[in-house]
Amino acid sequence: MKNAIWGVRLPLHLLYIFVGLLFVLPLWWSLTSSLRPLEEIFKYTSPFSLKALFLDRLDFAAYFTIFTERGFGVAVLNSAFVAAMTVLGGLIINGLAGFVFAVFQFPGRQFLFFVTVLSFLVPFEAISIPLYNVIKLFGWIDSYYALIVPGLANGVVIFLFRQFFSQIPRELAEAARMDGAGWLRILWNIYLPLSKPVIISAGLLIFLFQWESFLWPLICTRSENLKVIQVALAGFQQRYTTQWNELFAASNVATVIPLFILLPLQRFYIQGVTAAGFKG
């Protein structure tokens, strides 16, 4: 039986392995190269030998150097701080807005929701350049405010919360209202305990948005001590062009952190992006 399965499936498995390798190979090469001394990185690539993809011994010097000498730790902490604050603030303000759109009736509801949807049809990249002028008026250029505040309100996340809250039966809220509960009690006791999945998927969306953002941090900050991880990486590749092992080490750190968060929660992430996308 087992042989029969492998017999029929073997070409299929080979196809999947080939496609999988296309995705994994560059990252695998990056991983092994980061664990080599600098002078050995291109030793096995031209002409190519399989040794390029395997290691006889591990050399963690590159990881050590990026944190001790290149100040990469500051960038990791900055990104973690900016992402954490944006997730926290974003969940609160977008969650409240989604809650209001889902359960309240008030004049102007349709119009305000339309404006929300409109706001996420314009990609953030498109407005990064004019946003600079707005943030300059606030005097926030080169500060954490510039990095965090524009990312807080997010039309996609509001939409996500509204969709989720609309599925919770209204009778629950009505009953609580009959018993004299105010909106805060209803939110806290009825809606919040049910919202774990939407909070996780919204949190992941906001986290990835901030962790991967590049153009906006590039133009709104200048100081070394405000560099976020993606901007630090870009500066790195310009300044230490040939420190290949350190470049690999730094980009591995920047990739592994979101993957560690994303892969265990992939179910929520997929639910989140698809619900925000076309299921609405």
Partner: protein, 291 residues
Amino acid sequence: MTYRRSAWIAYLLLAPALVCLAVFRLWPIATTLLGSLYSQSIMQAGKDVFVGLNNYTQLFRDPIFWQSLWVTIKLNLVINPLQVFIALLLAIMANQRFRGTGFYRLLFFIPLGVSVPIASILWRIMLDPNSGLANSLINLAGIPSQPFLISKDQALWCIVAIATWKGASFWMIFLWAGLQDIPRQLYEAARIDGAGGISRFFRITFPLLRRPLLFVLITDTAVNFLLFVPMFLLTRGGPSYSTNVLMYEAYKSGFVYGDMGRALALVMVLLVLVIATVAMQFRLFSQEEAN
């Protein structure tokens, strides 16, 4: 629950999010429109003067603008269909059920954790003409080494490949979710009626996947019109302007040459271009649906 009497609570709770959206998303669009009508004064540093449509007429007379527009269009004509097609293939692969698909799916998801800057940096080293992995692998197959990013004929296509490597798995998610919504009984019924794989795809999969496909195509188009990072990190718009997309030209005008008026005019052109393309895709697809 109706709170007609206390609508102010609703406004109060909405205020933080909506004020932020208005200030940080909508106001910048307004400043784009307005700011593109101003230029920095030559007489007085730091003062802006109203110049009407001057930024635009200057732009339309500039051969670099037309070159950038052409590069942007060329890039998008290739990258959007390509990414949607590859994402669809991946989604179909991810949707198969046999032992091991869970593991393969995990491999397909890995580029989700890789940001565009990281993808660019990794591929720059891989595509290094002298010692990169890409050349040594194609040498194995007997193909001579290629210049890749330093060639004006290849650089743009290398960027297409890098962006697709990074982006395909993200777009796959939507199509895969769409595929899972298609009832399996439909395929069973078609199989009993003797429909082959290709016919099943065009009769069942494609029509029922129209909504997610349209969504992916439109969103992907908007993202790729604004693609900026690979040009910024790998080619600086070169060699000889062959990868100088409008977004990169806008960034350079604003933050390298300090000409905000020109930068905003370029953003305006980009916005119009994106909206026009998306509207066109939308109409094309809904017309097909009507037929």
